[in-house]
């Protein structure tokens, strides 16, 4: 499954669509529908159960597993045998710090949204992060993975243990329907708390804006690497944070501190974009240095590509670990 999203999934998983749905349950259903439609459209469907070998048919075997082509060639009944993938643990970490409350894409009045988007009347990074986490969780549960979830800021705020039951998805949705907190992000503390509870090798999907100090991120990722975990970092940034095409002189208030600055955005846009590029490059280089995946999500883009990255990473992870 390199691209579980199709045209139909694209429309289901687009922020324009999702932002108009409330409450979060309804939005989650839309996400599920989008992910599901993406699976149906994908020619790679069923890859979650890998073919391993043939064995002779014995009585009691389900006839649907007979390989009729082999029978035609050899005139012997053979049954397909598949590799079972039930040992993958996926932990989704969603940043719920104050900076995730930022969003510049307006939400039509009366259509709802999360509490965060409700207070800002915009599709926030947190909205995008929760939508992405919802999709990933459902997708992974469909693959019989054990999925866990944590909301974090300066530490773990809410957490759900790992399980592969399909009903677990509803609890995940329930947690994701919460709102961001006013705290700052503390990757190191969060990592410490998470790793203290998870000892087996897992695939961590960290969804954050990664606007923190790269040194703390490096320290955090080093802990994951040390414990032999795999990490997919999905960096959610608002389109405005990426483009910085504000026109009017503005008073900028830091969402995680009392810092404030009065600037004329057009005058510093180049410098901002340079600084962002530098930050991004630093993040990307440190993550790839650990062998982790990093993917930038524009909060105005559909969540589909993120799912594809997760699916691809999951597949490669399974190959590398079960293939040995």
């Amino acid at each position: 499954m390199t691209d579980p999203t199709g045209i139909r999934a694209e429309s289901y998983l687009s922020p324009e669509t999702l932002s108009q749905l409330a409450p979060f349950d309804l939005r989650a259903r839309m996400i599920v529908e989008g992910v599901r439609s993406g699976f149906h459209a994908s020619p790679q469907q069923g890859l979650s159960v890998q073919f391993k070998q043939h064995r002779p048919y014995t009585a009691g075997d389900d006839v649907k597993h007979l390989d009729w082509k082999v029978y035609a060639r050899t005139d012997r009944l053979s049954v397909k045998q598949y590799e079972q993938e039930t040992n993958l643990d996926i932990v989704v970490l969603v940043d719920c710090s104050a900076s995730m409350r930022f969003g510049s894409m307006g939400v039509k009045a009366g259509w709802g949204g999360t509490r965060a988007s409700g207070s800002t009347s915009s599709w926030t990074k947190f909205d995008h992060a929760t939508a992405t986490a919802t999709a990933i969780a459902w997708m992974c549960l469909q693959q019989s993975d054990r999925v866990g979830l944590s909301l974090f800021s300066n530490g773990i705020k809410q957490t759900i243990g790992r399980t592969s039951s399909i009903g677990h998805w509803r609890r995940i949705v329930s947690v994701l329907s919460s709102e961001p907190v006013d705290d700052t992000t503390d990757f190191e503390r969060t990592t410490e708390q998470v790793l203290s509870k998870i000892t087996n090798r897992s695939l961590f999907v960290v969804i954050s804006d990664f606007l923190q100090d790269p040194a703390s991120i490096r320290s955090s990722m080093a802990r994951f690497r040390h414990n032999k975990h795999d990490v997919i970092c999905l960096q959610v940034l608002d389109h405005q944070e990426i483009e910085f095409d504000l026109q009017d002189p503005s008073l900028f208030l830091d969402m995680e501190s009392d810092d404030r600055l009065r600037v004329d955005p057009p005058a510093i846009r180049d410098a901002y974009i340079e600084a962002l590029a530098s930050h991004q490059e630093e993040i990307r280089s440190l993550l790839t240095g650990f062998g982790f995946d990093h993917h930038l999500l524009d909060s105005r883009e559909p969540v589909g590509p993120a799912l594809a990255r997760v699916a691809a990473r999951r597949s490669s992870w399974l190959k590398s670990h079960h293939g040995r």
């Binding site: 990426i242 208030l253 830091d254 600055l261 600037v263 005058a267 901002y272």
Partner: protein, 705 residues
């Protein structure tokens, strides 16, 4: 009043309030700047450290850019205001001290002269001043003096004000007095007394009429004053002008029966003086047209080659159909470069009759010659009474125009006051010594009468009769018979005279061939007193045969008319000369609905326009006609020469002629800096546009993340 234009670091502003507007205009971009600062939107931002990082790296540059933009935007209204304020470069700011400049511009009667180019002298003078102003450094205080009335305007340092003043000057009928104008400028320079330099600029047509009294001493100016003048006119345009018209009598006698028959032909003539300027006048004849009411007379005079002045007698078409005064207009044709001096206004008062009183006690058998001479045709307009001097009372002199004292020796000393009262009321007295040799009367008469001579008790007896001769003062009294007088005097013999010693102011009308005064007169009094005329001989054949000669009748007739003419104030005035007047209102006879001069309690009135005027006293019926004319000789358009110009002032260097003699180094160019400011403004406007686009280029690019 000193009108100063503001100086700001070597700049002088013509319209300084525009500069103030420009300065105030700085507030506009500042206000916009502050307004936009206040209108900043508040934005919660997650990637704050990126903004801070970007701001830290761009802070200096952005602040410089914003400062440059703000400065350029502030400079635009400022420079616009400065440009509209028309600043001038004040070279005095660097060269040290302004030069006080005095512009003397001619605006008198000759400034109306049209030159060959068709422009008037005033227009040419204005052009000269405007050219001169272009060479004047900004900041120099300039005073304008007009030559007709010597009024001063300024000083002002605002060249535009000076230009407006110059443009607003109009020609006047007053004579220009160039010498007085220079004196006024000299007085202003002396009053400064601050050691500053001064310069007098003369803009005139250099006509002789502008040089009033050339006999006056030149104005003394020291070397601290520079003198410049416009180019002298070397050509004189054709100009035929009336210098003066003097009626031989200032009144006409009304006929008792109201007929048009004139009592005296001499009353209807005038002496006109015509002069011409310029090259040889192409016309060989000049037409003199005199209009009086519905009547007019015409006369042609011929100009012989080289003749510049003609004095001749013209008839005045007196129309005695009413008792009103007679008004005449004397016009010469053709018109020329200065038509203002081709018309002369003349008037003659109307006198119903002359009332005369003779104080005489005729000796038995003697002949009273004087009554015969005064009333040869038993005229009704001449009232003649004879009373004994001893019986003179005050009521006798009421309504009397002339008292003829034949026997002064019989006038009682207490009756002298009646004679003095008569004089003070405007009446005249003719005195002849008594034929007797008793001359004790002279002591009281010398002491009582204020006359510029002294009677002597001695009598000069000539062994051989002496004749009579004409003197210079005769013209003023016997103008009408002036041409025949020499012939009439010839047969007259004088055997004895009473010695009269004239003093200053005495007018000797006739003298003996020995040089003794024979007929003398006191000059007209400014206070309105009548004149005293005295004979040195009685009209007695033992003293002189004058009573028997043809001269006797015209002499006495003219003396009487002359005396009446001199009685009271004159109604013939010169423009610019103050005239004492009674309260009333002068109305122009050309348009009686438009009072030209209106005053209620005047002491003097000054006519500024030629014409006939009616004086209405307190809104009553017209009193009499007044006439005003340009000053005789003031319209001479002949150019004066350099020597005469030089003689106007006593100065070490003299006048430097603009446009030719003046070295270029002395001309300080005070070019307007407006165009430079406008150039800077344009550059700034373009620069602001470029800078604003340059400094906000990120708006127009999309580099992406």
């Amino acid at each position: 009043m000193v009108v100063e234009s503001p100086h700001i670091i070597g700049l002088v502003f013509i319209t300084p309030w525009m500069a103030l507007l420009g300065i105030a205009g700085i507030l506009i971009p500042l206000a916009i700047h502050l307004l936009f600062r206040r209108r900043r939107t508040t934005m919660e931002w997650a990637a704050m450290h990126l903004v801070q990082q970007a701001w830290a790296s761009r802070k200096s540059r952005v602040r410089i850019e914003q400062m440059l933009l703000l400065i350029s935007r502030c400079l635009i209204p400022l420079l616009l205001g400065l440009a509209l304020a028309q600043p001038l470069f004040d070279s005095n700011w660097f060269s040290g001290g302004p030069v006080n400049r005095y512009i003397i511009i001619e605006d008198g009667i000759t400034s109306m002269t049209r030159t060959d180019s068709g422009r008037t002298d005033l227009e040419n003078a204005k052009d000269s001043v405007l050219r001169y102003l272009e060479t004047v450094p900004a900041g120099d205080p300039i005073t304008v003096i007009t030559m007709s009335d010597n009024t001063t305007t300024g000083p002002t340092t605002n060249p535009e004000t000076i230009r407006r003043i110059i443009s607003g000057i109009e020609s006047s009928h007053l004579p220009s007095d160039l010498r007085t104008s220079v004196s006024v400028a000299s007085d202003l320079i002396e009053a400064l007394d601050d050691g500053s330099r001064s310069e007098i600029m003369l803009a005139t047509g250099y006509r002789r009429g502008s040089l009033s009294d050339g006999r006056r001493d030149p104005v003394v100016l020291d070397g601290s004053v520079d003198l410049v003048r416009n180019t002298r006119q070397t050509s004189a345009p054709d100009n035929l002008r009336i210098v003066d018209v003097v009626p031989n009598r200032s009144f006409v006698l009304a006929d008792a029966d109201g007929s048009e028959r004139l009592r005296n032909a001499h009353s209807s003539t005038a002496t006109i003086t015509i002069a011409r300027d310029g090259p040889e006048y192409p016309q060989t004849s000049t037409s003199i047209l005199v209009r009086g009411g519905t009547r007019e007379s015409n006369r042609n005079i011929e100009w012989s080659e080289g003749r510049r002045t003609i004095v001749t007698t013209i008839d005045l078409p007196v129309d005695r159909t009413s008792d009103a005064d007679e008004a005449f207009g004397v016009e010469i044709l053709p018109t020329d470069s200065l038509p203002e001096d081709n018309l002369w206004y003349l008037n003659m008062g109307s006198v119903d009759g002359i009332d005369m009183l003779i104080l005489d006690r005729p000796a038995p058998g003697s002949t009273s010659w004087i009554p015969y001479a005064l009333d040869p045709m038993s005229s009704d307009t001449m009232s003649l009474r004879t009373i004994d001097p001893v019986s003179l009372i005050e009521s006798d002199i009421r309504g009397t125009d002339i008292i003829i004292v034949v026997r002064p020796d019989l006038v009682p000393s207490d009756s002298m006051r009646h004679l003095i009262t008569h004089l003070e009321s405007g009446g005249s007295i003719i005195i002849a010594p008594p034929a007797s040799m008793n001359h004790g009367w002279v002591d009281s008469w010398n002491s009582e009468l204020d006359v510029p001579w002294e009677w002597d008790q001695q009598v000069r007896i000539h062994d051989r009769p002496t004749g009579l001769s004409i003197t210079d003062d005769m013209v003023d009294h016997l103008r009408s018979i002036g041409t025949e007088l020499e012939t009439l005097l010839t047969p007259v013999a004088v055997e004895r005279i009473q010695i009269i010693t004239p003093r200053d102011g005495c007018e000797t009308i006739l003298g003996t061939t020995n040089g003794d005064p024979f007929l003398i007169a006191s000059p007209p009094s400014r206070s309105g007193s009548g004149s005293v005329i005295a004979f040195a001989s009685p009209m007695n054949t033992d003293w002189t045969d004058l009573p028997t000669r043809p001269l006797m009748v015209p002499l006495f007739q003219e003396l009487i008319r002359d005396a009446v003419s001199r009685n009271g104030t004159t109604s013939q005035h010169t423009i610019g000369v103050p005239v004492e007047s009674t309260p009333g209102r002068f109305e122009s006879m050309r348009s009686t609905r438009l009072p030209i001069i209106d005053f209620l309690n005047p002491e003097t009135v000054v006519f500024d326009t030629p014409g006939h005027w009616i004086l209405r006293e307190d809104g009553s019926n017209p009193d009499r006609i007044h006439s005003s004319n340009i000053a005789p000789g003031s319209s001479s358009t002949s150019p004066i020469d350099d020597i005469e110009i030089r003689a106007l002032v006593d100065h070490p260097v003299g006048w430097i002629e603009l446009d030719s003699d003046r070295p270029d180094s002395t001309v300080v160019n005070s070019a307007s800096v407006t165009r430079y400011i406008i150039l800077i403004l344009l550059v700034l406007a373009v620069g602001e546009t470029v800078l604003s686009r340059l400094f906000t280029h990120s708006r127009y690019r999309n580099p992406g993340a």
